[in-house]
Structure formats: C-alpha cells, structure tokens
C-alpha cells in the first residue's frame, strides 16, 4: 500500500462523509430522543421499511443484549412500523421518502447519524432481520464484549451473516409479531463458505450458504456477500463504504488474523427466509431499490417459483454460539 493509494482512499472517505452530510437533509426527525444518550452507551443504528411484524422481537432481543439506544431511519413505510417505533422510549426515529438506492442502500443516512451521534460510542449497525451472536452471548452482556474489545485496543468486531431458513416451504409457518424467528427458521449451512480478500480495502469477501447453493449454483460470483463488520467503536472520521461489509479507514477491516491465529468474531443470524419473504421479494423487485439492479431479488423470484425448500440433509439446526464456534464459523479468539 503506497502513499498514493492511502491518499486516494482518504479522499474517498472524505467524499463519502460529504455525501452523508448532504443526505442528512433527506432525514426528518419523527422522535428525537438522542438527548437521552449517555457517554459510554451502546447504540444501534438501523434502516427499515415495512418491518412492523419483526420490530417487537428485534427491539427486545437487542435490549436484552444491552443496547442502550436505537437510532432508526424509516424509509417510507406504509405499515404500522412508524407509529410503533415512535412510541418506544429508547428509540430515536427519522423518516425519509427519498430513494434507498441513491442513499447507497441506506449507508449515507446511517453514516450521517453515526457521525453525529455515534462518536466515541460502540455502535452496532444491523437490519431488523439480523441477530448478533458473539462468544459467551448466553452468559455475558454486550457490554462485556465491548469492554474487552476496549481493553484489547480492538476497534471493530466481525460478525459474518449466516442465512437461517426453515425446513419445508417458506410459507408453511406464518411469523407472528414478538415471536423468535429462529423458532421457525432454525436451520443453516454449516460449511460451504468461500473467502476471498479484497486487496484494495483489505476486507474479506465471503460468499456461500443457502443463497449461493440454491439461488446461484451457476453464477456463484453474483451471490451476496456475507462478511460484515457491524460493531465498531465509532469515530466521526469513520464511514461505511458498502453496507456493513467494509469501512474506511482500511485498518478497521482487518478483523482477521493473517499469521495463523484466530481473532474473536461473532455471527449475524439472518432470518430473511420467513413466510414474509416471497411478498418482500416481489415488492423489492418492483421498487428496484437494491444492490446490483436487484439481481439477487430476480434470482429469488425465479427460484422461489420452483422449489422453495432451502433445507438439505446436511443443514444444521442452530443450538447456540458454541456450536457455531466448533463448526469454525466464529471464534472466541483469546477471549476466555
């Protein structure tokens, strides 16, 4: 990495930050409770659209982990979610009708909110269908992890996406508000992930799981990325470049060890594949607001029509984080 390259990345980072600054005008505060935020609080940032049915369990899950405040951008929902979120005492809510795609899939909005409210805090950026799992999450709160990361001078924590799915057709068991989605979709692919390194940003590019296996068997390069770095000790100079897959400055992307050891890492259980999925895929296909001309959603729509069972005989049923660690999907690193 020469000086020239560093300089260009620096310029790029500045550009994203300016862009985020400009996009701030698209956000209208619906319920601004950010004055409640205390130094040292753990903050969760999220964009959502019509996820009303998922929100009760989502908020509950992260409250239990020890998230202190939620900062949520609502992208033009037309269900009950806006009112529901506005009524939560630990949620600050912004609303926008602007294009999700032109805000780089929400990244610009969240970069702005993180810059404004996240400086000096541990910030978690997840979607309403993603549930963070980390080592010892059944016995230690999130604060234990962030304290340990602080003590170890680690600024970013990796948690790979693991797609969860039910056994049988997706619409067999309708999801109810407040229900644990893992009750319906407890299965995952234990060992079919492929890793490449992105030389420019230093992050990993992980693909695989049921989405590659079922939706992209002939075009694996189009399968969605599963690497994520959702938990970062935020600084106002930082920015996410593409979803939570990569960050600038580049050092934040070095969440993996290159000398044989294992760094601590977690997982994001991705419960996208519920009965709500077919309708969602259809809607997103029409809105065309997703990555790479919604190529992912096109593949979903095509495949879902044929055989919607993602389950196979080598699917593994989720038990706990120790299972994921034994399978090699995440690691305790030197946290013991």
């Amino acid at each position: 990495m020469g000086i020239w390259q560093s300089y260009r990345l620096r310029l790029q980072r500045k550009r994203w930050l300016i862009r985020a600054f400009r996009k701030r005008r698209e956000l209208r505060a619906v319920a601004d409770r950010s004055a409640q935020i205390r130094p040292g609080d753990i903050l969760l940032f999220c964009t959502q659209r019509n996820e009303g049915v998922r929100l009760p369990y989502f908020l509950q899950y992260y409250r239990n982990l020890g998230v202190n405040h939620f900062l949520i951008v609502d992208n033009d929902s037309d269900d009950q979610s806006l009112a529901y979120l506005a009524g939560q005492s630990d949620v600050s809510l912004w609303h926008t009708t602007a294009s999700y795609k032109r805000a780089r899939f929400g990244v610009d909005w969240l970069n702005w909110l993180q810059r404004k409210y996240g400086h000096g805090h541990w910030t978690l950026v997840v979607d309403p269908d993603e549930f963070l799992i980390y080592p010892f999450c059944d016995t230690r709160p999130l604060r234990a992890l962030t304290d340990w990361l602080d003590a170890s001078s680690i600024k970013s924590f990796s948690a790979m996406l693991i797609d969860m799915y039910p056994k049988g057709p997706l619409n067999d068991a309708p999801y109810q508000p407040g229900q644990n989605p893992l009750d319906i979709a407890p299965w995952f692919d234990p060992g079919n992930y492929s890793i490449k390194k992105n030389a420019r940003f230093g992050n990993l590019w992980i693909q695989g799981g049921p989405r590659m296996r079922v939706f992209f068997p002939d075009a694996p390069e189009k399968a969605p990325a599963l690497n994520k770095i959702p938990l970062v000790k935020w600084d106002r100079r930082y920015c996410y470049v593409s979803s939570t897959h990569m960050l600038l400055p580049r050092g934040l992307n070095l969440v993996y060890d290159e000398w044989g050891g294992e760094k601590a890492s977690g997982a994001l259980l991705h419960t996208k594949f519920l009965d709500t999925f077919a309708a969602k895929a259809q809607e997103e296909l029409q809105r065309k607001q997703h990555y790479a001309a919604s190529v992912e959603y096109k593949a979903y729509a095509e495949t879902l029509a044929q055989h919607p069972d993602l389950w196979c005989k080598w699917s593994e049923k989720y038990i706990n984080w120790r299972q994921l660690e034994i399978l090699g999907l995440m690691s305790k690193g030197n946290w013991a």
């Binding site: 016995t139 230690r140 492929s194 890793i195 390194k197 990993l204 049921p210 992209f216 294992e262 690691s331």
Partner: protein
C-alpha cells in the same frame, strides 16, 4: 485485628473497590487505599466519604499511575509506608488492586500467612530464564532509557529504543542489584518491606527504577531478593495474562472455575460481574479447606485461549482467520488421498479402497460437469453442493471445506487429466495429501471407448499433455505431499505391492492385510492400441513401455490371487 494488611490500588469501578475494601476490613484486615491521581477530585471525595465509617482504613498520597511507568511503584510505596507506620501489628502486607476479588474466606488467608510468618510471596525470576515478556524487551528494560510513553507515543518509543540499540547506549545497573521480574501483585513481610523502604540507598534505587520499563514488575521483585530470608517465588493472586501481556478478565460464568481454583485472590474481575461479587463477598465460611491454591484448570483454559489466538485451528479458513501463505499451521485440517489412474485401471477401485480402508471415497471431485461425491450424492457434509461452477469459483475453499467438514473422517478422491486442474499446485504442496498416480492410465477408457480413432488420437494427445503438466507440478521442489508415481506398465507388473503400501499408509484402526485385489480391466490389445496411436504420429509415453504382444500375453494378471496371507 489481623496480622495481614491490604494495600489497594484503585482507579476505576470505585463502587466495586468499596465493596471489596469493606470485605477485607470486615475480616479484620487494615486497609490502605491509593486512588489514582487521574480520578477526578469530586469522585474521589465521594469515595472517601463512602468509606469514612471504617476505623482501620486509610488513604495515602496520590500518584498518577500510567501503565508501564513509575507511578504504580510510587503508589505502592506510599501505601506501604502508611500501612507500616499506622498499623504496627501487621506482619504481612498484601498488594491488591480495586479489581481484585478474594475467592476464599479472608480468615483462611490470615491463617495461611500466620503459619508462614517469615515467607515473602513474590514472583521473582531473572530475565534470562523466563519467556514472559511481550514485545522483545527483556533484559533491555533494565539497560535502556524509556522517556516516551508506550501507550501514547508508540512510534517514538520504538524509534528511541532502536536508536539506543544502534548507538549502543547503556544504563548502568546499580551495584548489588540483580534484575528480577514477576507479577506485580505480591505479599511481603514487614521485615522485608520495611528494609526495602528504609534502605539507605533507596534514593539511588528509586532514581534508577524510575526510568526502567515497567518498574512495577521489577522494583520490589529485585529488591526483595536482597533482603528476604525466604522467598516463595509465586503470587498469591491468581492473574493470567494473554499474548499481549494484558490480564484476562473474569466473568460470571467463571464462578465454578474460580471456586475450584482454591486461590486466595483473583484479578481481574469485570466490574459488572455481579454474580461473582455476590458469591465471593458473602463470605460463607462453609468451605473451610486448608488446601494450597490450585489454578490448574484455569491455567489450561487461558493457555488454550492464547493458543487459539496465536496458532488457531489447522485447516480452518473463516472470517477471523485467513492466514498468509506459509502461516497456516497446516493448510488442510486432516489427511486425505488423491488417486490418479486407479479407477481407469481397475473396475471396482472405489468400492475396493472404501472397503479396505473404511475411508470416504469420492469419485472425480474435480470432474468438469460436477463434483462426484461419494455414493453419487448431490450434496456433501457442510451442505456443499456438487455444482461445478461453485467449486471452480474457489477450488481451494472447496477442498479445504470438504476436509474441514469431514474432520475425523479420512477422505479419498479420484483425479485425472480430464478434471479441472486448478487445484494441483495446492494439493502437491499440502503435507496432508497422499497422492498416488498411475501415469498413462487415462488411455484405458479411450482404448475401451467406441469412438472414432481420430477423436481418440486428439483426446489422447490432450490428456497426455495435461497429465504431463500435472507430473511436472508433482516433481517441483515445493512439493510437501506424500507423492508416488508409477508408469502404468510398471504398475500392472505387480499391482498388489503398491496397493498394500498405500492402504498401510492410510492407516486404519485395525490394520488388515489385503485379501482381495481390485479387478483389473481387460487389457488385451492395449499394446496394439498404443502402437496404433504411435502410428498416427501421437506418441504415448506416460504409461511406459507396452510390448505390442503384451495384450495377448497378459490374461494371467486379473485372476492373480493375493500373495498376502491372512494373519
């Protein structure tokens, strides 16, 4: 009042420090507390106020304590002076921190020390003999200058160390001192401690140690060696360090582990570990056992954590472990076998080798149309699909995943010049691979095929070229795999011998002698077939020399009975 005095160095989580101080005090131990100068005055006053009701508790002069600097030693000195001066009945002085937690009833510690009235418990070793130091500064921490903070000005720190090394600058160690180091948490007798503090040369020693790197791990450790009559070189405080030299932290889920450790004091406890504080500060004197501390299990757990962080699991590639080439500690997680030319030569080779070894035997995993998993499965353990596109997108991940997913289960697969060749370099450099090649055997299916000779000739030329490249890879100097190559002609002379070697090397739990040979395919006329190829200008050479008439003369080979005798 007990004969054990406690010095407490506190800087954060003052609420917890207060709880622990009360606990020590309640057991009759006088306590002297040092509060870091960095703690704001208001917080500090509040803390003093909260503890004002304890008669045998004092506060000492405050110093600024930054990690790795003199402040911590100065704090210990001040606190110790107060303790020795104000509590004359104290015989042992125990240095603890605000995040230390007594694990056994304090009375047990008091009794333990009362039985060893002249013993100093301080870990103290010469630098040459221990591998503790992190970052390569061991003896040099006593001979170089360290004016820059390691935490705040790392670059300057490193540059200045480098400069001093280059220039050969050395500090002189005061006469009579032999540098020792060890855990900063000690328990010294009044005699030893007062001798250190009242030493006529103390000014000189202090001036020297003030500029030593991490003096809190060497000041008392070195000076105790001068005065102590009886040193037990171990710390009574259980404190484990990770590979960066920072202490491991204990949480609620360590409760049982800590209980069984029989250690007197543990550090460092996470301030929010309420269950630990509740459990150990309730002082139920039920467990009155006079055992020695036994932190064996905790040691193992933390040693494993360090091992995981520095070595990792062999053959695992994941989001937080992607070793650079050469740093994998094993590029795959287990041994596996690659067979080239065997299924071409034998009719039932896959079943035969599966039966002989109990291994999982796949077909051509790298076949151009799909991955031929064992038993014609379309999906393999780990939910690996048989899609050729996915496999060829990252062949290395495909193979390492396959081996990782089947941990404990030996994998075998077939490989040949008709397969995708991207993986050859990887397997040939993997010590876990056992590669057996019968070169030229690809000609047998061609020989049996019902195709036009021109097509066969073209195909044979292509396969020969690819296999020859494969053999070049296998003969390259980087190879670490267990590689065996036979020319086909040489192999069919005596097939049982190499087969026995291969099976033996795969090594099954109950070694069997081969009682049954795989069935050789019909080769009558093969020699003529090769000659025909030659006549067309395409010289097959990888299979060795087949006489034209060998085909007619060879029927004695297939029925050949194994010469190995059942034991």
């Amino acid at each position: 009042m007990a004969g054990v005095g406690i010095l407490m160095l506190v800087h954060t989580a003052l609420g917890r420090a207060e709880q622990v101080a009360r606990h020590w005090h309640a057991a009759g131990c006088p306590v002297v507390i040092h509060i870091d100068r960095k703690v704001p005055e208001a917080t500090c006053a509040q803390f003093r106020q909260a503890l004002a009701d304890l008669p045998n508790l004092r506060f000492c002069t405050r110093h600024r304590c930054e990690w790795g600097t003199w402040g911590i030693v100065a704090a210990s000195q001040s606190a110790a002076e107060v303790m020795l001066a104000q509590f004359p009945q104290v015989r042992h002085v125990y240095l603890a921190s605000g995040s230390c937690l007594p694990l056994r009833p304090v009375q047990e510690l008091i009794d333990y020390l009362a039985q060893r009235p002249r013993t100093d418990f301080i870990e103290s070793a010469t630098t040459a003999d221990v591998p503790w130091t992190v970052g390569g500064l061991d003896h040099e921490r006593f001979t170089l200058h360290f004016p820059f903070s390691w935490k705040k000005h790392r670059t300057l720190f490193d540059l200045y160390v480098g400069l001093q090394r280059r220039l050969g600058l050395r500090r002189r160690i005061p006469k009579g001192l032999v540098p020792h180091m060890g855990s900063q948490w000690w328990c010294l007798t009044r005699q030893t401690l007062s001798a250190i503090l009242q030493d006529p040369d103390r000014r000189q020693y202090d001036a020297y140690f003030r500029k030593v790197w991490i003096p809190d791990e060497s000041y008392f450790q070195t000076l105790a060696r001068i005065y102590s009559t009886h040193i037990e070189s171990r710390s009574l405080t259980l404190s484990k360090f990770d590979f960066q030299g920072k202490p491991h932290i204990f949480y609620d889920d360590h409760l049982q582990l800590l209980r069984r450790s029989d250690c007197f004091v543990a550090r460092k406890i996470w301030p929010h570990a309420s269950r630990l504080y509740e459990a150990f500060l309730s002082d139920n004197t039920s467990a009155m056992k006079h055992t020695e501390p036994n932190p064996g299990k905790i040691d193992r757990i933390f040693a494993k954590a360090v091992e995981r962080r520095t070595r990792g699991r062999a053959g695992l590639y994941m989001q937080s472990r992607l070793p650079n080439s050469g740093w994998e500690n094993g590029v795959t997680s287990g041994r596996y076998s690659v067979f080239s030319g065997f299924t071409e030569l034998f009719e039932d080779f896959e079943d035969w080798i599966a039966k002989a070894t109990g291994a999982r035997v796949h077909g051509h995993l790298f076949a151009p149309d799909r991955a031929e998993f064992a038993q014609a499965q379309t999906i393999a353990p780990g939910a690996m699909p048989h899609s050729a596109a996915i496999r060829d997108y990252n062949p290395r991940a495909f193979l390492t995943n396959l081996i990782w997913n089947a941990r404990g289960d030996r994998q075998c697969f077939q490989f040949g010049p008709a397969d995708t060749q991207d993986i050859t370099w990887f397997i040939s450099s993997d010590p876990n691979a056992q590669i057996s090649v019968i070169s030229g055997a690809w000609a047998v299916p061609l020989f049996h095929s019902n195709r036009n000779f021109q097509e066969i000739r073209k195909e044979a030329a292509l396969l020969q070229r690819i296999e020859s490249q494969f053999l070049d890879v296998l003969r390259a100097p980087h190879c670490k795999a267990r590689i065996r190559i036979w020319k086909m002609a040489e192999f069919i002379e005596a097939p049982m011998e190499p087969l026995q070697t291969i099976v033996d090397e795969i090594g099954i739990a109950t070694p069997r002698h081969l009682t049954e040979a795989p069935k050789l395919r019909e080769l009558a006329g093969f020699g003529q077939f090769l000659q025909n190829l030659k006549n067309q200008g395409m010289h097959p050479y990888l299979m060795g020399d087949f006489p034209i008439e060998q085909g007619t003369a060879q029927p004695h080979i297939p029925p050949r009975k194994p010469y190995l005798v059942r034991s």
